[in-house]
Homo-oligomer: 343 residues x 3
């Protein structure tokens, strides 16, 4: 593809094209990060990026930049094609989709797939090898199911979903449209509910269901449990990374992002637009307000108000935590100074 063709693609996209120079209109075969880009490759640079000083040495043939005179100047000096847009990352995403379109599996049902009775299949569906779909389940149009996926009975999978290899969907789960379930994820498994008795733990039946709204993505190996009654609910647009645990009865709002190895215990309520960084834990029944940002390894044991940025364990406001952590390192000095003063 030539650079002028990419410009046309970007003009139809969402990145906000502002200015550009196609120069000799280089052929673009691939995309790469600034430090790795070679000739015929396109790269991108964000405002105030940590890669700024890689720009000068880059061998890229073209670059996507924010509208910033100094960067445009540099591109001109380097004599490479450039395009300035409002959001360079979105432009880069659009170009990756054009240059490296995903190879989708063929439509149709592989002959080794096991589809039980009373399964309702939409149009233009792809069902891979050794998939098993149990009775009463329904798969809507344009959904892709990769090999080895197991869908228990009475599940409803919406349109345009992608279920990657060996993922498992348990009975009565409901997935909206445009969801992605990554490899080996488990949706709708039995919540961890046991009652202490003097004969040991007695299981509380988990008869509720898991509901994923539209555009939810679930990472590899992530587990989302169903509750004893009611729903575990993940609202539209929320993205969940790998190896995350979502306990039974948890409600997560819209457009949240949960990084890898986050654990959310049973009954917790998470607002909209919440970001939990890696290995964060949320305790049972805690309420986390909308737009909360919790930094990695944070342990949330009490309700958090909307808009807070929190850190540490137990979680406290991030700015306070930074000062506390700085003083933690000085604890031996503090103790020593105190001993001296006492004398």
């Amino acid at each position: 593809m030539f650079f002028n063709q990419l410009i046309e693609i970007l003009k139809q996209g969402d990145s906000g094209v502002e200015r550009y120079s196609i120069l000799s209109n280089p052929k673009i075969t691939s995309a790469a990060s600034l430090e790795n880009a070679k000739e015929t490759e396109i790269s991108f640079l964000e405002k105030d990026s940590y890669l700024l000083n890689q720009f000068e040495d880059s061998s890229a043939s073209a670059v996507i930049i924010p509208l910033q005179e100094s960067l445009i100047q540099k591109a001109i000096e380097k004599n490479i094609a450039w395009i300035a847009v409002k959001d360079p990352r979105i432009a880069f995403a659009e170009i990756l989709e054009s240059i490296n379109p995903i190879l989708l599996p063929k439509e149709g049902i592989h002959k080794s797939a096991v589809i039980e009775e009373n399964v309702e299949l939409g149009k233009n569906i792809s069902i891979g090898a050794n998939v098993c779909i149990e009775s009463g389940s329904k798969i809507d149009n344009h959904t892709i199911i990769y090999p080895g996926v197991v869908i228990y009975n009475n599940v409803h999978i919406g349109k345009n979903n992608i279920l990657h290899a060996n993922s498992v969907i348990h009975p009565y789960s409901k997935l909206g449209d445009n969801c992605v379930i990554n490899s080996n994820a488990v949706v709708g498994s039995e919540g961890f509910g046991f009652i202490p008795t003097n004969k040991g733990w007695r299981k509380m039946p988990q008869t509720g269901i898991v509901v994923l709204e539209n555009n939810v993505e679930v990472g590899c190996g992530t587990t989302i449990d169903r509750p004893s009654v009611g729903q575990t609910l993940i609202k539209a647009g929320t993205k969940i990374d790998n190896l995350v645990q979502i306990g039974h009865g948890v409600h997560i709002g819209k457009n949240c992002a949960m990084a890898s190895q986050v654990g959310i215990a049973g009954g917790a309520k998470i607002g909209d637009g919440v970001i939990l960084a890696g290995q964060v834990g949320v305790a049972n029944r805690v309420t986390v307000g909308s737009r909360v940002i919790a930094s990695s390894k944070c342990g949330i044991h009490t309700d958090i108000e909307d808009g807070q940025t929190i850190s540490g364990f137990p979680a406290i406001p991030n700015k306070l935590w930074l000062r506390c952590a700085a003083n933690f390192k000085k604890l031996p000095e503090i103790a020593k100074a105190l001993r001296k003063l006492k004398q």
Copy 2:
């Protein structure tokens, strides 16, 4: 089902029925939590529950309560059917089982299942699609194996076990009766044993086995490794949540509960009735006494005596930790006060 029928079921159960009023004997179609219950639904309330103030507004047609005059009075005022029992949660569990019986798969071996030679199968077994059972393995009566499960050679699975989809059982593992292995769990995998040499890591063969006694449950994605020699042992009645790591040679006592994302390193010994909350870590070869309770994210690096409640990293008694954590938040003030005093 009508309320008087549920009463009869509870009388035969373990919840300890004390008093009840069937009123107009409502029809009960389903169960729900107090705040979500609608007409024709039954709910429950525990002693000192956080849902107490939801009781008044609940639309439930019937409620299970502890024997407490004030609650009975409230039920009478609301004019709904009620039953007072010693343990409302157990009553609720029994009613869920009656109202929402689990749909079990049909007996028999699916034609796509691969059963190698010398596999011994008991009676009334269900083996799902694309299951693979390797030679020398033995499955006892009434066990259910869902689609995609892989059982390596020489495994012994006891009676009444449930193995959920795509779980994997490695060679020579032994499972007792009434165990549940949830989806994508791995039992008996190779322990992480490597010896440092000047040519890099050299594998220590892991020739031991994993033994699960009766009534053990293993969560989705949980991994239980076998040791180089001897056993990794989980004793009867222990329940393990999702995404837990049990290292090689670990011994866990009876009736323990391990919450999600707990990690127990090689050779650790855990007593009976131990409760580890989410994301707790236990170091190599540490001994944790019986009835220890470790709160979430706790890091256990040294032996812990029976009956302790511990928190923090490194783990200290919970009460001490609470006071330390409260002071941690004041570290900037403490440092400031100290600087002033020094002047």
Copy 3:
């Protein structure tokens, strides 16, 4: 096997045989740890092992020991066969391999396996039941693929690899020789890349690949993501335990060891010979120098120089952390003493 035959095996191995006494040349049927060993079993003892005081009571018929006069004397007193070597663990590993050789699956392709067009298979390969290999992939000689494994399109798996049950390898991943992928691990899955927009999260296409060099091992349930462009790279000899998350674009050096539940966020660079203990977290784009050792639950947020031993969150030098943690426990006392002084 008799003890003198084991001696011959060890002489050909890497443990560094020094002295031995075969006594009555006992028959050795099995191997066990010192405290569990019974007659006809061989065990081993390392220098300064915590098992030293188990030696006297052990019923083992033979023992591998380091060259230490006191231990040789004890073996003579116990009247058991012994061999003194430079590295007893390596000797034990070699003996385990001789006594308990792993049962490898038969060569050949199981009739239920689905091999798409344009797949290139080497010699002496074993492909188990219900395996699926998509088009354009290539598997080299002597590789073993257990049941239920899914290999997407255009993957290259080198020689002598072992892929355990239900693991998944995503498109274009490259595995070197002698790698082990344990059950339910996922290699090459889509990195967690989303761009915030006012319509919610927009996916950044993940068009890069995952490369594992020779002798890499990946634990059960571990997930290794591919980046938007470029590679996620694990260099030769690195061993990764269960339930580890390796984010997109991470580079890990040679001969590292990553314990269970470690999480490495996108773009981090890890040097050679690094050891990360259980539940350690590494933040985005951080650089961790070679030979760094991070103790369990450590949170690494800033670049770490070569050779450091670090602990805590945020990570600080281990020795400093130990003193800080000791003072953390005294915070209530410190606060009290300070209050007194102020008066």
